[in-house]
Symmetry: C2
Subunit: 297 residues, 2 copies
Amino acid sequence: MNSKIQIKLAPNSGFCFGVKRAISLAQEAAGSGKDIVTLGPIIHNPQVVQRLREKGVNDISNISEVVDETVIIRSHGVEKDILDLLKEKDVEVIDATCPYVAKAQELARFLSQEGYPVVIMGNADHPEVKAICSNISGKYFVLDKELILPERYYPKLGLISQTTKSLKDFQELAGKLVTYAKELRVVNTICSATSVRQQASLRLAEESDIMIVIGGRNSSNTKMLANICKNIIETQHIETAEELDEQWFDGKKKIGLTAGASTPDWIIVNIYNEINKCTGNGSPVITSIDEIPGYKE
Amino acid sequence: MNSKIQIKLAPNSGFCFGVKRAISLAQEAAGSGKDIVTLGPIIHNPQVVQRLREKGVNDISNISEVVDETVIIRSHGVEKDILDLLKEKDVEVIDATCPYVAKAQELARFLSQEGYPVVIMGNADHPEVKAICSNISGKYFVLDKELILPERYYPKLGLISQTTKSLKDFQELAGKLVTYAKELRVVNTICSATSVRQQASLRLAEESDIMIVIGGRNSSNTKMLANICKNIIETQHIETAEELDEQWFDGKKKIGLTAGASTPDWIIVNIYNEINKCTGNGSPVITSIDEIPGYKE
């Protein structure tokens, strides 16, 4: 029995509050009989988006496609001018923007109105960041953790973050930016669920021989989890059980799992069962995420 | 000639703007024929204080000693209640508070009025810090670079610094404090002359075999220079030429000098001439700090 492989899931893996809320709003709308679309994928998980499509909720990429459908604003939010266009079109809007993202948008607006050029730690191409930036009336800079700012000294600077970034990187950037401004006003907009999940994944990686990170390849927070784990131990980032490769587990005694904020429970459960099977671990097949060792620790 | 010992002084050594201003105000007052006192030493350099005493400017330690003298507020500033007492006594006051210190006091007051508990990076016993704290109406914490804060999460926190502290330590503290508050408002109150002097001293230390740091043993910024240099190379902190020990220079090829913001030129020049003499360097005796190699680089 001692030679049995240990498979553990990091606590706080999977759906966060904002994602649960968005999915639940979409499912509710799907049941209403109306024509429903989302602007872009509602969350960054292709499998969840596919299931919603099967329920009649289609994701469209351009607002010009909207005629008279009910439009769901996805969890990442949308740019201000798109909201304005939706108002013009006079269609029903269901706002599934994550409340933490909405708060970051509000803070960006506030800092800008107070005269602070705003530094956003994030990926310039990410929809959340685009939506945040659209709320800024003055100057702003989007920086990844790399510090590339015009070499000058600002009377004041604001600093916020894409909600799913690493707190450690944010702290480092704040420290660096101190030398760029007389006053630096830092508002920590990183979602605490994100930090907690990152910490839990880091701890699990430290005691594992391999980490399997589960979630959309387009999911920023899942990619961040994969990067954190890669710094510690061999790591594979997958979306579904089909991508598992038995050879990854040769000679491994401790397998760690973690999943991004947009990864649904059923995918995590599937992958856990599949690893149990392919490693010959012999643990019983489970049906709920709560049964996976580690998750409730 | 190539075996001659190199003696260099770090650029930006010695008197800063605020100290020059305070000394000049004190000398002007000394020439007025009035009875003049300073509350505490006007700057943290015993030799300068002694010279002012010889001109009739005495430093007193307690405000109760003031009868009808003109009172000079020293460069570090004084606590608010002492200013109030001086007003009550209705004596003439000459405010030689360094303008950068006055700015830090004003910012502490502002942050506190805006509802920010204020973190001051500094030494709680230093007169400048005491004066800054006396301007805060709400909660505040004085921290050295060590982070000892009640373990809780603040809705907002302000952060300023004693003007003569290390910018690097301030950056690190700002980074750490990000996890202690939703909003962290950092105002860099470190005097730029201090940062520039520290950087120049660090660079000189890196190319020297020994560093001689010149300035009052009670001078916070001089002690900081000594600490910075000690991390790089053997370092001696002295106040006057009398403390020099020939043995320090045995086998040394490159001697670096630096001096705190309250160290007068004549002490630096004396020490330079004395090192030249005791090392048998044979350089000519100089009379002005401008003639010391390195200073004007």
